[in-house]
Amino acid sequence: MTPPVEELPGVTPVNAINPGIDDLIANSARNRQNPPPSDQTMIINMGPQHPSTHGVLRLVIEVDGETIVGLAPDIGYLHTGIEKTCEAKFYQQVVPMTDRIDYLCPMTNNLAYALAVEKLLGLEIPERAQYLRVLFNELTRIQSHLVWLGTHAMDIGALTVFLYCFREREDLLRIFEAVAGQRMMTSYVRVGGLSVEPPRDIYAKIRTFLKNFPAHVEEYEGLLQTNPIWMNRLKGVGHLSAEDAIALGVTGPPLRASGVDFDVRRDMPYSGYEKFQFNVPVSDVGDVWARYIVRMQEFRESVKICLQALDGLPEGPIVADAPKIILPNREQMKTQMESLIHHFKIVTEGFGVPAGEATSSVEAPHGMMNYYVVSDGTAKPYRVHMRNPGFATLQALETMCKGRLLADVVAVIGSIDIVLGEIDR
């Protein structure tokens, strides 16, 4: 019998080259119950550069033949220290940082941060701003789900859907560009309201998009749900029970696909969601297919919410009435002394926020997103912490993949819809 590798002289121990292996050994399922004989298993690396890991996710996978017996995600490749950077910025300057956390849903990140700071300040947001926030959040959800569907289908091998999804996403990005001046890093939702009034002709464009979009959803379903390869790759794969989902901190569509009927928009409404009528799609199957069905239904529900927001959009201001916190508009700034002083003070010194701590919670496209902001009374946040959905959902990956074939990992990663920017922050 050959001696273990680490005992050979002059050979670097395997765990020094490959730190993820310690993680696997400490945490893997095979050490908890029914370990297979160790000489039958093999450890392979998937990522960090791998087309189906949606970024820089590295998975250390232990396989017995082609069956997965252990899996450990290794993250941190995209860690940029955004939480630390936030502590050196004024409150308003943090908004562009939040865009870059989950770059598929920047408006949702902006909103979650703005809600937390507004809670600290005790600001009342005008109804028009709330409706516009809801409108653009739901458009962001559609946009994020389109990226999910396109890349998920591409991972499984259905390339056509990817092109169709990105065609519709392009329409949405053009709308965002017209509204916020940026396609992806919008920074549109600000503390106290919105950055600018949307152009008048944008509502007709959004209505055209919403009118055509349900037909496109049927088009995707027509491409996928009659495709036997797609169905066989998804059905019965990556099962997650409701108990496991709650124990492992899973939120959003994967949680609802496991049969837990909880949606922050409906159950703990924010930004005026209580005024909108929509259904929360739930499935109790808990596999990759159920997550697909739940998200496809969310497309339709988001369209419903957007239409209600457009129909009920009230007139009025888009920022709260707080001149010491919100920048005056350019006209006022150039004609009124008071506004000029406020403008100067806000830009140079920021605004103080009463000491305390606040948590905001929103339903992002990927799950529940919380922002925890601590203030010490100065113009810079003392601590900003983001609870992002992907970070917790990644913990459930092993439970979903264990006992399945290696190829199913690709389907499962696609179904939990991770964005590494939000996981590593």
Partner: protein, 163 residues
């Protein structure tokens, strides 16, 4: 605008103002301090009671662990504030459990035995703040490289110059 006078501070005042709250009932013995501010309930428990407190709120219906993070109040003592955010799907409300730790060798018990979801979050706090969680199955760095020195989210961590 926010009125600081609207905050209810102190264990007795909060427990009298919200006697029906499930978390208030569950933590009547374990709480050392409490705060009800901006519509959010914060209950402080002692360092050695965190597992007992987590189990108590879980039995009271707070079934979903959301988050644990830390705040570094350097140079004041107790230096670290560990904030747990716990949600109830049924009651549709969340509470914040707080544990305060001294700056010298901060450590407390891991709650992964109550909620396995705390695994990654406790590793993150360990990595970025250097707070030790005893009983954690795999307490290793998660964001920073294995051989990194220091804990970047501490307030005394240098943000410029050479390391």
């Amino acid at each position: 605008m926010y009125d600081p006078a609207s905050a209810i501070k102190g264990k007795q005042a909060v427990f009298e103002a919200h006697p029906e709250n499930a978390a208030v009932k569950a933590l009547a013995d374990l709480a050392t301090d409490a705060k009800f501010d901006r519509g959010e309930l914060t209950i402080t428990v002692a360092r050695e009671n965190i597992i007992a407190a987590a189990t108590a709120v879980q039995q009271a219906g707070y079934n979903f662990f959301e988050d644990v993070t830390a705040v570094d109040w350097y140079p004041s003592e107790p230096r670290f504030q560990i904030s747990y955010s716990i949600l109830s799907h049924k009651l549709k409300q969340r509470i914040r459990l707080v544990v305060r730790l001294d700056g010298e060798g901060p450590s407390l018990d891991s709650i992964t035995s109550v909620w396995p979801a705390a695994n990654f979050y406790e590793r993150e706090v360990f990595d970025l703040f250097g707070v030790h969680f005893s009983g954690h199955p795999n307490l290793r760095r998660i964001m920073m490289p294995e051989d990194w020195k220091g804990h970047p989210l501490r307030k005394d961590y240098p943000v410029e110059g050479y390391r």
